[in-house]
Symmetry: D2
Subunit: 137 residues, 4 copies
């Protein structure tokens, strides 16, 4: 059981579903980690010039996931005007970064891992967006 | 001349206006700093229970400004699908945090400084959004 | 298997033991998450004034763990002059934050979770320090 | 007058000299900004393979400066066991990153700007270390 889940278990997070929220936070933290490590691996690649687009997207993805994880990990005062565009930015960068990493997945195992982390994070952020929009209606 | 300006002077940042971009990055970095310091000052307040909403907003504001400054400081590969919602999130949290800090401005000088930093950042992010939307059309 | 482990499996991280490194990165990421969530929970406490020391330590702990996880997740160019003091700072803040959280563990379940995350991170950073010092000798 | 200075003016930061502290925070924030922007510029270089060491050091430098600026911007509860190794890590990475950037300064104007930011930050952190050690004795 992740620390995000353990912490949210001690909380009342309504109207947000704690499982959906914890899954999103875990996916964002994992995606941050994968993108930071993938940047390091890409920089060590013999043909680093081919990996520049991937490095740039991983840098952006790690930063957006970090901020979104931090903000959504403070659910007590939830501001949809902030969280919704932030989650939309996270969905967008995870989609772009996942697409780019997937292009290199056959030849670069680290990009294959990173692509999976991005796909999962994109979906988890979409799920959280859907859950919070339901929560408001 | 700020380091953001000095760095952008060595670059081709078209179609984004380098002055508008540097002003936004500077405002986001200053707002991050003001919010982090304001959190510390609020926590030292005798009536900290009155400052909880302010602390929460400052924590969110610092994190969103940090990520937005990092992403916009890498303008070479500019992805509007990421940057525009991120800037919208930044505008939204700066507006909320600026409003809250303004409520305490008369009695808490640190909140007065922070309110100014939030207002300036909100406007600078709106200017950058406008400039990048023109750049695309 | 964590994303840190999956990524490090695609790497040559010698002379650092990849399992010790992955365990430290995982512990730092978990500690960051626990401290950010604990801050939010503390701020929601009825007697928030009693939790100020805990909030301050959690804020510092999250920031130091974040930076240390990022730097150690780029092991290809490893600089002991940077990584060793950084890990020492991480050990020190995890010890302080773990002690403070433990004081509230009986009455605040979120502090009990956070204390465990800090203790585990403190030990994992000590293990990584020991492993890298062996690696150099 | 920087926001760090404006905020610290509203505080009692003794036994730390507020001017020395504000100068260090400003230098760390500027160095973070220079390193993030320099990474983007290096990635755009035709001979990016020559810039890999520079990119790695800039990534580490930005992360260590960010954490050190955040922790020292919360001076109310000052823990030398954390702040001193953190500042030592900051001095070490600024020295390494400044040396590397200086090697490219003649041909890469962005590295020249970044080298200056690193040198200034290294010195400002040394000054803060000296000031806090005096403050304790």
């Amino acid at each position: 059981m992740s620390y995000a889940s353990q912490m949210l278990d001690t909380y009342d997070t309504s109207p947000i579903d704690a499982r959906v929220l914890a899954a999103a936070i875990d996916a964002m933290n994992d995606c941050t980690q994968a993108c930071i490590a993938d940047t390091d691996a890409d920089l060590g690649d013999e043909s680093v010039a081919m990996m520049v687009a991937c490095i740039r997207l991983c840098l952006d993805c790690a930063d957006v996931c970090t901020a979104t994880a931090r903000v959504t990990s403070r659910p007590t005062a939830y501001h949809p005007s902030v969280t919704q565009p932030l989650l939309n930015a996270c969905v967008a960068i995870c989609a772009l970064c996942g697409d780019e990493c997937e292009e290199h997945a056959d030849t670069h195992p680290h990009c294959e891992v990173c692509a999976r982390a991005c796909r999962r994070c994109e979906q988890a952020c979409r799920d959280l967006l859907a859950a919070t929009q339901e929560g408001q209606s």
